[in-house]
Amino acid sequence: MKVLRLIPYAVLFGYVGAAAVGLVVLLALRSDGGVGPDQPIAFSHQIHAADLALDCTHCHQTVEVSRFPGIPSTDVCMVCHEFTATDRPDIQRLTRLHNEGRPVEWIKVHSVPWHVYFTHKRHIKAEIECTACHSDVTVQLPVRQVRSFDMGMCVNCHRANGAPTDCWTCHK
């Protein structure tokens, strides 16, 4: 009898518990958990950009002339890696891909929505630091999207720097 009386409470707690779990799962799915995606090749910005102090444009070659920074193709990598660190399995995979003329299928990290026109060129020409949006990629292993690219971020920066706030500057 006593047990029966507990049933309603059990059910109630069941619901609440389920809801709580669901919420947690949802949040977990939403956040990247502070870790970037595992890339096919564990490329380290730390080594290249920090330790070797290569300029961003060394690999992202179209960032100053184009809307898009240009994800380097394998032959850019091979300029050095034909000789450097050839003992590493990752580099060997890279070399193999290069020889087969196949691309490295990087996973995209930074995206803006479908309706946004964003041009790297203008921002570089305006001397906006890469880190302003991408933060310091050299400390992210692997690279992840640190700042959320919501409209507030764009607009507030535009306001601060006297950049146009006409909607059609960015909305396409």
């Binding site: 919501d150 409209m151 507030g152 971020m153 607009v155 507030n156």
Partner: protein, 433 residues
């Protein structure tokens, strides 16, 4: 008459009897209207899933049945506040027989009306963008848009009417509390906020009621004016006219009063309130109906006069079209129900003939719905550029959702008749003496 107390007691017993165990007929009515509502919502979901195209609206008629329904329901909402606030200020005694259900009707009608702006949105799920909420973009709403005025006017109207309704209820809830048992007693006690009717309460109460009435009166005028400006502020021939605000307000009160009749006549029978609501009370409503009908009829005439006097090509073309074009039949029916038929109310016999009043009220409801439909659709279907002319026929989805809205309205009203006193007991007592 016997001692006031005897009457008070009888009144309370009668009214509370109405709140008693629901009859089978009541349950059927409730089931039917609830089903309609659920189906209507289902259709809305269907529309959101597949796109606005499932409705009949087309290019160039971007607004159709949905906006018609919106204006119709907002119109219905007007009689409530009119009867409770305006007539209160005018010290019209018969008001006390209707104001409770009229106010309830107001709230339910506004709730129903409020759905349609959402339903008619191409992307209903972004409806919250119409509200000026603080956001990270610091982007606000366009306060120059009549639609934003609507948001403010309608939500204000809903809130104020709700407060007004509740305030009026407090003493009656206390009465119910006094006669209820068990858990219901507790609930009513809670909602009556500990009202006992002491002089200290009454003095503030009376003051509050007057102020609410004083505030609600301009509000009721403004709300339908704002709604009318959705049209009047545009450049569409047939919409863009200065008479719209008074025209719509009169129309709203007209339709609202008709709806009160439509609801009260059966309710009085079913809930056996004949002793408390008599022919005389209905006659007073009929007079309001007649009066507003005359205003509306005048507005119809003025519209044409303005158009033809202006000599404006598009205005003239439009009103000719409204009268003789594709929708002439609807226009004719509208004029008949809103202007010609109500003229019968000049006859005292008919004014006091309840079956007639009921039939008339139905006609007026239909007529007023048609009025909004005709204004919206005929104006849009033949605008400036002849290339972009086209006629509009509602789709089943629109019809279904409209029926659904009636479902919602009646569901709420039926529930109201069982959980709250349908007569303003205290005020009836007051006026009975």
């Amino acid at each position: 008459m016997s001692s006031p107390r005897a009457y008070f007691e009888k009144l309370e017993i009668d009214v509370l009897a109405a709140m008693g165990k629901p009859s089978i007929g009541y349950l059927i009515a409730l089931a039917v209207s609830a089903t309609c509502f659920v189906v209507g919502m289902g259709l809305w979901g269907y529309q959101m899933l597949f796109g606005m195209g499932v409705a009949g609206i087309r290019h160039p008629v971007g607004w159709g049945v949905y906006i018609t329904d919106f204006v119709f329901w907002v119109g219905i909402a007007h009689s409530g506040t009119l009867i409770s606030a305006v007539l209160f200020l005018f010290r019209a005694k018969f008001r006390s027989r209707f104001n409770r259900s009229a106010e309830a009707m107001t709230i339910f009608a506004v709730m129903t009306a409020g759905l349609f702006p959402l339903i008619h949105l191409g992307r209903s799920w972004f409806a919250y963008w119409l509200f000026p909420y603080p956001n990270q973009r610091e982007l606000w709403v366009n306060f120059r848009s009549p639609l934003v005025w609507d948001v403010f006017a309608v939500s204000t109207y809903l809130t104020v009417s709700a407060v007004f309704f509740f305030v009026g209820l407090v003493p009656d809830l206390a009465v119910v509390r006094g006669r209820a048992e068990g858990i219901r007693k507790k609930i009513y006690a809670a909602f009556s906020l500990g009202w006992i009717g002491s002089a200290k309460q009454w003095i503030h109460y009376n003051q509050l009621y007057i102020f609410l009435a004083a505030l609600a009166t301009p509000l009721v005028i403004s709300v339908h004016s704002v709604v009318s400006w959705d049209f009047a502020m545009s450049i569409v021939p047939g919409w863009h006219t200065t008479i719209f605000a008074p025209y719509f307000v009169a129309g709203a009160i007209f339709s609202g009063t008709a709806m009160v009749l439509t609801l009260m006549i059966p309710m009085r029978k079913i809930l056996k309130l004949e002793d408390h609501i008599n022919i005389g009370h209905f006659e007073s409503l009929a007079k309001i109906l007649l009066f507003t009908s005359l205003i509306v009829g005048y507005a119809y005439a003025v519209e044409f006069a303005l158009a033809f006097y202006s000599g404006h090509t598009f205005e003239i073309a439009h009103f000719t079209y409204r009268l003789l074009g594709d929708y002439w039949a609807l226009y004719a029916l509208m004029v008949f129900s809103n202007v010609l038929l109500p003229l019968a109310l000049f006859v005292k016999k008919l004014r006091r003939n309840i079956p007639f009043l009921f039939v008339l009220s139905i006609f007026v409801n239909i007529g007023m719905w048609l009025e909004r439909f005709v204004i919206i659709v005929t104006s849009l279907s033949k605008e400036y550029d002849p290339y972009s002319w086209g006629t509009y026929v509602p789709s089943m989805v629109e019809v279904g959702i409209t029926i659904g809205s009636f479902g919602l309205f009646f569901t709420l009203f039926l529930i109201f008749t069982k959980v709250l006193p349908v007569l303003a007991i205290t005020e009836v007592k007051e006026t009975a003496l």
